[in-house]
Symmetry: C2
Subunit: 241 residues, 2 copies
């Protein structure tokens, strides 16, 4: 946990604390992280954390600001044509992946900055879907907004669940070592049609039919379920051990 890279020693104590907070918040979550833990990770005293960022909440906000700042800058660099510059991608990843790791956790912990980022991505995606974009076929959907939102959630999903992909794939996708394999798989998935037209139509019909049940189903608890639901309910009233 104290394996800060030597490059950190170039930074101000304030920046080192923010960097450490980024890591600890990402790993433990905001409520799981402690000021003392962040201080230890940064190699400073707990008092110094309090001195620079007056409260834990303020430190969190500072991390949020920094994160969206980095993401905005990286996005701008990419749009300015940096993508074509050789070596841009690996370097952009090196600086932005820790931030992505933080934002992934922030999305779950309920940060307003992460929420704003999510909404931005949704809006950006939806614009691309309806207006079209170079290289993009217009999406065949009757609900572009939901399409964009769900696509964004799925894309962020691989970041949020990077820990599990690390375990399964052997390398963290939020790391230059693991990033390519994940991205290639994602391209395969978004390209591939993995359902036959018949199964697709069948599934779609089932979900459509669900719509008529849906509005009442949330409050109507008295419906009978025709399978082993009774057994499941029985578990609920198990006598204490």
């Amino acid at each position: 946990m104290t394996d800060r890279s030597r490059a950190d020693e170039d930074l101000t104590a304030r920046a080192r604390i923010r960097e450490a907070a980024l890591r600890v918040f990402a790993e433990r979550g905001v409520s799981g992280a402690t000021i003392r833990g962040i201080a230890e990770a940064a190699g400073v005293s707990a008092g110094l954390v309090q001195h620079y960022f007056r409260s834990k909440e303020a430190l969190r906000r500072a991390c949020d600001e920094y994160a969206i700042d980095v993401m905005t800058r990286t996005k701008q660099d990419a749009l300015d044509g940096g993508v074509s510059t050789p070596g841009f991608l690996p370097m952009a990843l090196t600086v932005s992946l820790p931030v992505q790791r933080y934002l992934a956790r922030a999305l779950v912990d309920g940060s307003s900055a992460a929420a704003a980022l999510f909404d931005d991505v949704v809006e950006f995606t939806e614009d691309m879907l309806v207006e079209g974009a170079p290289g993009m076929s217009p999406a065949k959907t009757s609900d572009p907004h939901a399409y964009a939102a769900v696509l964004a959630a799925m894309a962020f999903g691989v970041s949020v669940l990077h820990e599990h992909l690390t375990r399964t794939l052997g390398a963290d996708p939020l790391t230059p070592a693991g990033y390519p394999r994940m991205t290639l798989a994602m391209l395969d998935i978004l390209t591939d049609d993995l359902m036959s037209p018949e199964l697709l139509a069948q599934t779609r019909a089932a979900v459509e039919q669900l719509r008529s049940f849906a509005p009442g189903a949330a409050t109507d608890r008295d419906q009978r379920i025709p399978t082993s639901k009774a057994a499941a309910r029985k578990t609920d009233s198990d006598p204490p051990a």
Copy 2:
């Protein structure tokens, strides 16, 4: 927060506590949840929570067990042909969606049960990809394992980020009211080819090329980034406010 449905009053205190813990753990995360908060949500004293489940960790494990139990049972019911029974889907969702909400959070909070569930889904998916399944076209990928893992992460992603989909779509996808719209959008996404073959090939090439940079890039901090990276670095050494 105290809007427990009247159906809860049928349950044992122990079951009511577990149900409340499921909700609170899902909303606040395991480290954000408190024994007293769970007790209040269940309408009992904090001591009683401690009496039935001896520690917070044990309560968490009980929730894990219950969650995978419900998911296993629901999956079994579906495989036993319950899917075709009219009314199965809405009822299955009603009982399993709160559990899904818990598991989504557990995936991020590092529960071993959730990790096992994730791995199960990956294995199940990979088997379907290589062996083929009724209605499923064999996936066109050179890396079925990564394909399955990333697909699983994306599918779970919409659960994990359901809060953001709720904000964007106006209805929680982990609710009978919001579930259909999300699922239909997901079907669109997995069916659609949204990238042109040229852009796809171009992106793939860029990622492939990244592979040669990757192994060293993680430790090599001294590369130069040719864009506004210098400005970003400047933020790092900002003097304290």
